[in-house]
Amino acid sequence: MTLSAPDRWLLPLLGGLALVLAAVSLTIGAAGLAPSRALAALIVDDGAVSIVMREIRLPRAILSVSLGAALGLSGAALQGYLRNPLADAGLMGIGPGAALGAVAAIYGGVSALFPLALPLMALAGGFVAMALVLAMAGRGDGPAGLILAGVAVSSLAGALTALALSLSENPFAALEIVYWMLGSLNDRSMQHVWLALPFMAGGGLLLVLAGRGLDALSLGAETARSLGVNMTALRLLILAGTAATVGAATAIAGAIGFVGLVVPHLLRPWVGARPSRLLLASALGGAALLTAADIAAGLVAPDRDLKLGVVTALIGTPFFLRLIAAGRSGSR
């Protein structure tokens, strides 16, 4: 009956998996390059092949790994903070809020003048959405209040995003609603990497710092405080960390769902359910899952822009259903 925490091999295993998947994703693409030549062209100059590898596939692989990590980490942190396995940046309105911020930055033309405006406004959107949800859900309420508030804020942010895109003068804007709702990593460049990575890394650090407080919080807010945890600081860490990671991820790739929900759920039993240990494991697991999803999208429809959110949902749902079925017999 004992579930020890096999940390010693779990983290290296997940990290190795993410790296291998990232390498595999570098060999997959519409141009159909031979894998050996493709990987060699990363280092040795090979004309157009090198351009494809360095400017298209490498940023894509870096983004799928880092976005997956950001989403997995934020999901684990949110679930820990809210002590609710259903918490997720998408369900809680943070993803949609960040998408609204990003849409405002891009279609309002601000991001063209000042590139940092894109991640910053997405971050602000995520922050406001989460603050709204937390305020609406109240403190220490059961999951129902939280989920209801999340659904309300998600719908509002989604509707405002669709409204902004529909009212845009640009005929393409309305078509891009799909992208913001489902997410994609198609044709991102190193510029996107540099724009998003600092925010995801900074936010990730804040969330990892919250781990200790999250552990204490598993005994309830009152006991956590008696253990010296500053709940105001913890709330701020989670808010800022989630807004930064999810905001930057959403600004670059739209709202990719399911990673933040499923990955912590899958890995929880393997870390002995310790919220702090779940953080890093979920980051690595999220990186592996999103990269796998990206590979799947590339294999299934290399010439189509199959939306990543669709693939993560297709991969994630069966796992999730299995978990729910298994959870019926035991407890969460």
């Binding site: 693409g29 519409a30 141009a31 390059l33 100059d45 004309g47 157009a48 092949v49 351009i51 494809v52 400017e55 298209i56 596939r57 891009i106 279609y107 309002g108 033309g109 991001s111 063209a112 845009s168 003068e169 640009n170 005929p171 393409f172 804007a173 078509l175 891009e176 992208y179 198609n186 044709d187 460049s189 190193m190 510029q191 290399p302 010439d303 189509r304 822009d305």
Partner: protein, 308 residues
């Protein structure tokens, strides 16, 4: 019960007789023609008798979208909504096959003759539509004259597309590309260009993965006019370093104005002329033999939007 049935029959009969009346009138040239589609706007503007065309779609006045925006000046614009069209009392409504079906069905139920044109996907479509428009408007002679001029202009411009023709990559960013069975492909063919998208199997509007564009090393990259009316994500892909590298290694870069390729018409030949000129520039810049093109250097990124 009887009375209600009789009333229904009476209404049904009325609608029938109205439709019949509309059919009879069609023998006469229509006197009040309303166009609700950008492409039928253009053809009608070219062929209609003075005063015959009483309204065009709103887009017909937009010079970035409509080749004949100047000619549309002074003709009132409509929004394409059924109630607005009905109040214009048209005897012929010209629409596109993609115009909202509900609006057209409503107009037909109200007894108005509606003719829908599919989008032009080839030069043959242009020829067919000019003839059909001439017949609908009772302007057959004008249509034949227009066609004769079209064929004469085309004969001067046209170049054969062969396996040795230069390769063009049509890239509308995330919004896609134009493959086989598209007007852009027809224009490229007429100007003596191969089309990358058509060769990798894209039919109509589709997606051209950036990596295929880069690897194919096209002689020319053909984009579209940026930002019609505001920023969109689609145009962000024009700043992708890999695209800029492909553009650096290509000899030709051009932007095909939307107004020449959204709809087919005699004005489409202007697009053929521009691409032919691009072909001439590429031919002179092309290295004599082998692949002498240098790998892209680190120089300043050329801006696709700034190139002629």
């Amino acid at each position: 019960m009887m009375r209600r049935g009789a009333a229904a029959a009476a209404i049904f009969g009325m609608v029938l007789s109205m439709t019949a009346a509309a059919r009879l009138e069609a023998a006469e040239p229509p006197r009040r023609v309303v166009s609700v589609n950008l492409c039928t706007d253009q053809l009608a503007l070219l062929l209609a008798a003075p005063g015959q065309l009483v309204s065009v779609s709103r887009l017909a006045h937009d010079p970035t979208m409509a080749a004949l925006a100047g000619a549309a000046q002074g003709i009132p614009a409509n929004s394409g909504k059924a109630e607005e069209i009905y109040l214009l009392r048209p005897d012929l409504v010209l629409a596109g096959t993609y115009t909202t079906r509900q609006s057209l069905d409503m107009l037909r139920r109200l007894g108005i003759r509606v003719e829908a044109f599919p989008p032009e996907q080839s030069l043959d479509d242009i020829r067919r539509h000019i003839r059909r428009m001439g017949a609908l408007l009772g302007r057959e002679a004008a249509a034949e004259a227009l066609l004769a001029r079209f064929e004469a202009d085309l004969a001067v411009l046209a170049r054969p597309r062969t396996a040795a023709s230069p390769l063009a990559a049509v890239y509308f960013g995330a919004a896609g590309t134009a493959g086989r069975d598209s007007l852009v492909d027809a224009v490229l063919a007429a100007a003596g260009w191969r089309n990358l998208a058509a060769e990798i199997g894209v039919v109509g509007v589709g997606l051209l993965p950036l990596e295929r564009l880069v690897v194919a090393r096209p002689d020319a990259v053909i984009g579209e006019a940026p930002d019609p009316g505001g920023p969109a994500l689609a145009h962000a892909s024009y700043r992708h370093p890999a695209l800029l590298a492909a553009i650096r290694s290509a000899t030709g870069v051009t932007v095909l104005p939307d107004r020449l390729t959204i709809c087919g018409g005699p004005f489409t030949l202007e697009a053929v002329r521009q691409l032919r000129a691009l072909g001439d520039r590429v031919a002179t810049a092309r290295p004599p033999a082998g692949d002498g093109r240098t790998a892209p250097g680190p120089g300043a990124a050329p801006d696709i939007e700034a190139r002629p």
